[in-house]
């Protein structure tokens, strides 16, 4: 796939990957063997009929390919861009054994983009239109479901429940929907216009979206029950930034990745002063962590004009949780990597601004509970790392704001909601999914849970009506 030249792209926030041409897409699609027992489908958390949509691309029927895709996936233009296909569908592809799996992600993106540029994405699919006419829809329509959080899990559950015929309202605490798709993932990886288009489609399915609605403060779940909501899906994500708990973390110039990315992505701080929200940028930036969020923060810093940007990670390259493609893109953009390194203290100037980090070198020992080799500090390996801006990207936990208002809801010891794979929680009418259940994970895993929870909610409400 064609990409923007690294020297150019570090000066703009435009998309890095430029997508397939129709000819490229057909050519790639023709490599698909159309396996009967398609492993790729099992590799996909939202169960897309992958050989099915690829077969349509082969024929040049992009419209039909889009319909097949949309049958299962409500956010294909998003998934085609941010899914870790290499560990999912593409990993399970028969051709992967021969070294080069079908580029499922690129094809998905192509079809979704084609549908957007041809206005096809504006049309809810035929199946939904039929649904609108039948009586079951009319009965279902009287039942209200509240979805709390408008990220990938919430949007997916909402779309599926709307397609099944329920009246769905999404409550979002920020002023714009999309959750992590909007505040977390930068424009150059996922343009907001794409998020707007996919959200627009879900609205056309009849889903209502209430922004600026902080559930737990403006209303409790109990109050929503009184208002007639029959089931709840909590999809509030991983909305609590973790810090390292080291000295100097409250110095000026130390951001959580959440703050840094929210300023830039949601509030458009990269367009300051045209937009009012500011963000400071350093001469020498250190990003702590090596997941996708860390890589996004590093690449955003680069684009904001930081002189030198370094990923500081406590393990080695092979343990880095970020997608391979992101790491590659970061390297092309001149991001440095300080591996096997743990910060133990951040130093500041008298005026409260960051000056440097004291770090330790690590070696790797046997694997820990995460299956990755555990970093162990090397004695007397302390050294100082010069920097004037630090972004802490070491993960996010469950935000307690809403959960503390539902004492009967069972949480695990990390503070995440206890839910089964179908999203059922300890409270019969409350379902949950996405990062609030699993801890920080991927967009597509959250969508998979949204999908399964939608089914479980439908089952629950169907039983409710029958007895």
């Amino acid at each position: 796939m064609k990409e923007q030249n690294p020297q150019e792209r570090i000066n703009n926030f435009n998309e890095v990957a430029l997508g397939y041409t129709p000819e490229q897409a057909i050519l790639e699609a023709k490599r698909c063997l159309g396996c009967k027992n398609a492993g790729c489908i099992q590799g996909c958390p939202v169960e897309i009929d992958i050989p099915g949509f690829i077969a349509e691309i082969k024929k040049g029927s992009f419209d039909k390919a889009y319909q097949v895709l949309k049958e299962k996936n409500n956010l294909p233009a998003v998934c085609g861009r941010v899914c870790p296909q290499e560990t999912q569908c593409e990993k399970a592809c028969v051709l992967a054994k021969k070294g080069k799996p079908i580029a499922v992600g690129s094809l998905e993106r192509f079809v979704a983009d084609w549908a957007i540029s041809h206005g096809v994405s504006e049309r809810p699919e035929q199946k939904f239109k039929e649904l609108e006419r039948n009586t079951q829809y009319a009965i279902g329509n009287t039942k209200k479901i509240a979805i709390i959080g408008s990220g990938p899990a919430g949007l997916t559950a909402a779309a599926d429940l709307a397609k099944t015929g329920y009246q769905v309202i999404i409550f979002e605490s920020l002023h714009a929907v999309g959750g992590v798709l909007r505040y977390g993932i930068p424009e150059f990886r996922l343009p907001k216009e794409i998020v707007d288009t996919e959200v627009g489609y879900i609205e056309k399915l009849g889903v209502k979206m209430e922004v600026n609605a902080v559930i737990g403060r403006i209303k409790t779940i109990d109050q929503l029950r009184v208002e007639g909501f029959k089931a709840f899906f909590i999809a509030t994500g991983a909305g609590l930034p973790y810090f390292l708990g080291i000295k100097g973390e409250n110095l000026n110039g130390v951001y959580s990745a959440n703050e840094f990315l929210t300023r830039v992505n949601l509030m458009n701080a990269y367009r300051f002063p045209d937009y009012d929200t500011p963000v400071n940028i350093g001469r020498k930036v250190a990003v702590i962590g090596a997941g996708n969020v860390a890589l996004d923060s590093a690449r955003v810093s680069r684009r904001l004009g930081a002189g030198e940007v370094t990923i500081v990670y406590r393990r080695s390259e092979s343990e880095m949780p970020a997608r391979f493609e992101e790491i590659k893109h970061a390297r092309e953009e001149g991001i440095k990597f300080e591996l096997l390194t743990s910060p133990i203290k951040i130093y500041g100037y008298e005026n409260g601004w960051v000056r440097a980090m004291r770090c330790l070198r690590n070696r790797l020992a046997e694997p820990d509970a995460s299956g990755r080799r555990r970093p162990v500090a090397i004695p007397d390996s302390e050294f100082d790392f010069d920097c004037d801006l630090v972004v802490v990207a070491v993960g996010q936990g469950p935000n307690p704001l809403l959960l503390s208002t539902i004492p009967e809801l069972k949480l695990n010891k990390r503070g995440n909601i206890e839910a089964d794979p179908e999203g059922r929680t300890s409270v019969p009418d409350i379902f949950a999914g996405g990062d609030i259940v699993t801890g920080a994970a991927t967009v597509i895993e959250a969508m998979g849970m949204g999908k399964r929870a939608a089914r479980a909610i439908d089952n629950y409400l169907t039983k409710l009506i029958n007895c």
């Binding site: 403006i218 609590l240 959440n258 929210t262």
Partner: protein
């Protein structure tokens, strides 16, 4: 769009706004705040809720011009609208449970002190208020506070009204005579809250301060508003806004509040102000 129903200039740099917001008006409690955005390109800023029951479907805020967004807010009029309004945010005030509370309100801090003081009065508690401002024309809500209690003491930095000096001068005089307060509640500029906390620590009177640090989402998601309280990092938006004044690291917080100063100045200048 959230409609502004009433606007009043309380003095040249402070305005009062009544905004239509039935849901927030219903849910809000003393001590809580909202986050608003005026326009698409605007920033999200937190502001204390001053009133939430007069009339029923509105909330009111009192705004001091301090930057581009607050300047803009004060230039709006009845009939104009705000793009976004989220709230109520933060924990409701703990002070309303106390019996005898001494308020120290500096500048627009009175906007938050008033609803809390009124709630204490409604619970049959007693309140006293030290009201401070730079100058006579900067004082707000004096009449309303006097309607709640006969114990209203005023000081101005320049001596143009009430006692000349700082609120802490009045505070030490009062604490010398009367040590029966259950709580001191300080709300105003950071330097004032720090000075009050230092003084009240000496007199061993429990002190709450209300912190309005730089925020983005206001729901605990970004950590921008973090503040060190008793050697622990807290988020002002969800753990606060009220904290034990004797435990807050004011020095760190004052530095943190200046993090975007250069950019804020630039923004304000570009908007045509000083």
């Amino acid at each position: 769009m959230y409609r502004i129903l009433k606007k009043e200039d309380l003095n040249p740099s402070v305005c009062y706004l009544e905004i239509s917001s039935p849901q927030i008006a219903k849910a809000a409690q003393p001590g809580q705040f909202i986050i608003l955005r005026i326009t698409e390109k605007g920033e999200r800023i937190p502001l204390t809720i001053h009133g939430f029951d007069e009339p029923e479907d509105t909330i009111s805020i009192i705004v001091q011009k301090a930057g581009k967004t607050t300047d803009q807010l004060c230039s709006l009029n009845a009939g104009d609208g705000l793009l976004d309004l989220a709230g109520p945010l933060g924990k409701p005030s703990l002070a309303v449970k106390e019996k005898r509370v001494l308020f120290i309100a500096g500048g627009v801090g009175a906007a938050e002190a008033y609803p809390i003081a009124r709630a204490i009065k409604q619970e049959r508690g007693e309140v006293a208020v030290i009201l401070g401002a730079k100058s006579a024309e900067d004082l707000i809500l004096e009449k309303q506070l006097r309607a709640l209690t006969s114990k209203v003491y005023v000081s101005t930095d320049d001596g143009s009204y009430g006692r000349k000096g700082f609120v802490t001068d009045l505070l030490s005089e009062i604490l010398l005579k009367d040590k029966s307060f259950d709580l001191i509640y300080a709300i105003g500029p950071l330097a004032m809250m720090a000075a009050v906390s230092n003084l009240s620590r000496h007199y061993k009177v429990k002190t709450l301060v209300s912190l309005n640090s730089i925020m983005l989402d206001g729901t605990g998601m970004c950590g921008s508003c973090r503040v060190t309280v008793g050697n622990e990092t807290k988020f002002a938006c969800v753990d606060g806004p009220e904290f034990d004044g004797h435990l807050v690291d004011f020095d760190e917080l004052m530095k943190r509040q200046a993090r975007f100063k250069k950019k804020e100045c630039r923004s304000r200048k570009l908007a045509g102000k000083k």
